[in-house]
Symmetry: C2
C-alpha cells in the first residue's frame, strides 16, 4: 500500500523545509489533515503572500513589504552608523534590545570559499556605494563568531578602513549569566583578550 | 521594528504545527521567502489538496482519497483478521513489512481518562458493528505499549472476547539487534514474561 497521492505530495513539500526529514514530514502531514480547514487555508495563503509581498530593501537588503524598508525610511535614526549583519533575522534580534538607533546593512551570507561564495555573491558592493555618498562615520560589523563570519569581518574592515571610516566589531566574551566552568575555550580566550579595566 | 505583516502571519501559521516553536517557525518563514516560487506554490496547493481530497475510510477509519480505502476494497486480503491500530500512520508502518495480509481498523486515539477521552470518542462502535456482520475470527490489537495503549487493549479484549472472537496482542520484548544491557526494565520484564521454548 502506498500513501494516497495528496498526502505523499504534502510530505514531499514538508521535506523541502530545512531540518525536516521524512518522519517529521509524515507527522506534520497527518497533523495537517486533522487541522481546522480555516487554519489550513490561512497557512496556504500566508505561504503565497510571503512569497508575493516580501522583498529585499533596495538600500539595506532587509526583508520588507515596502521599499525602502521601515528603518531606512526613518529619518529619526542615527544616519552616521551602519551595522552590518549576515541575515535579515539578525536585525530583528538587534532591534529587540531597543538600544541601537543607527542603520543596518544585510550581507545575505558570509564569505565561504569552500561553498564557492566570494565577495561578489554578497551584498557588499551596495554597501560600499552607500558609504561613498552618505555621512556614515562608523561601520559596526556584526557577523557571527564563526570562522566564516570572522574572515568576512576582516575582509570588510580592510575594504572600508582606507576610506577613513571607523570600523568596529561586536565584543565577544562570556554570555551574561553564564558559568566560566562551562564556557568553551574560544569564548574564554576572547573574553581574556577583550578584558576591560574596572 | 516589527516583522512585516506577511512574515509575521507565516510565522504564526508555522507555529500551529506540532513541535515548532517561535524560533523554528521564524527560521522556516525566512527559508520560505528564499524558496523557488514554484515550490512555494506547490506547497500551498498540496496543503489545500490534502485537506480537500483526504478523508477517513467509512469502514476502517484509514486515511484515503477514495472510499472505501484501498485495503478495504482489496478482495484478495484475508477477510478473517482485523488488526487494530491507534493511528493511520501505524498502518503504513505495518504494511512496510509486507507480511500481514488481513484488514485494519483505526481507533484514532486511545482511552485516556486524564484527557477526557472515553470509548465513545474513539472509532470503537464501528469496529463492533463490523465484527457482528463479518467473518472475522481474530482481532489483533496493536495499540502502542504506553499505559493508555495497554488499557485500551484490555478494554477492547473484554468487549470482543464474549462474542467468541479470538483477541491477540502484538508481542512485546527486545527489539531485534538491541542489547540487553541498554533495555529498560519494562521491556525486559515483558521479554521474560513472553519467553518461548526453543
Amino acid at each position: 500500500m502506498q500513501y494516497p497521492e495528496a498526502i505523499a505530495k504534502l510530505i514531499e513539500s514538508y521535506m523541502k523545509l530545512p531540518g525536516i526529514g521524512s518522519k517529521t514530514a509524515t507527522r506534520l502531514a497527518f497533523f495537517t489533515i486533522d487541522m481546522d480547514e480555516e487554519d489550513v487555508k490561512e497557512f496556504a495563503e500566508s505561504l503565497l503572500a510571503a512569497k508575493r509581498d516580501l522583498h529585499y530593501c533596495s538600500i539595506c537588503g532587509n526583508i520588507t513589504d515596502e521599499d525602502p524598508c521601515e528603518i531606512c525610511r526613518d529619518a529619526n535614526r542615527d544616519q552616521s552608523k551602519i551595522l552590518v549583519v549576515e541575515q535579515p533575522k539578525d536585525i530583528m534580534a538587534l532591534e529587540k534590545m531597543n538600544d541601537y538607533q543607527g542603520l543596518y546593512h544585510v550581507l545575505h551570507g558570509v564569505l565561504s570559499p569552500m561553498d564557492g561564495k566570494g565577495p561578489e555573491d554578497l551584498n557588499i558592493a551596495p554597501l560600499i556605494k552607500r558609504l561613498q555618498k552618505s555621512e556614515v562615520n562608523e561601520v559596526i560589523i556584526a557577523t557571527n563568531a564563526s570562522p566564516e563570519g570572522e574572515s568576512t569581518a576582516m575582509y570588510l574592515a580592510r575594504l572600508i578602513k582606507p576610506a577613513g571610516i571607523k570600523v568596529t566589531r561586536l565584543a565577544h566574551g562570556l554570555s551574561v549569566g553564564s558559568d566560566i566552568e562551562y564556557a568553551d575555550e574560544m569564548t574564554l580566550q576572547r573574553a581574556v583578550e577583550g578584558r576591560q579595566e574596572m
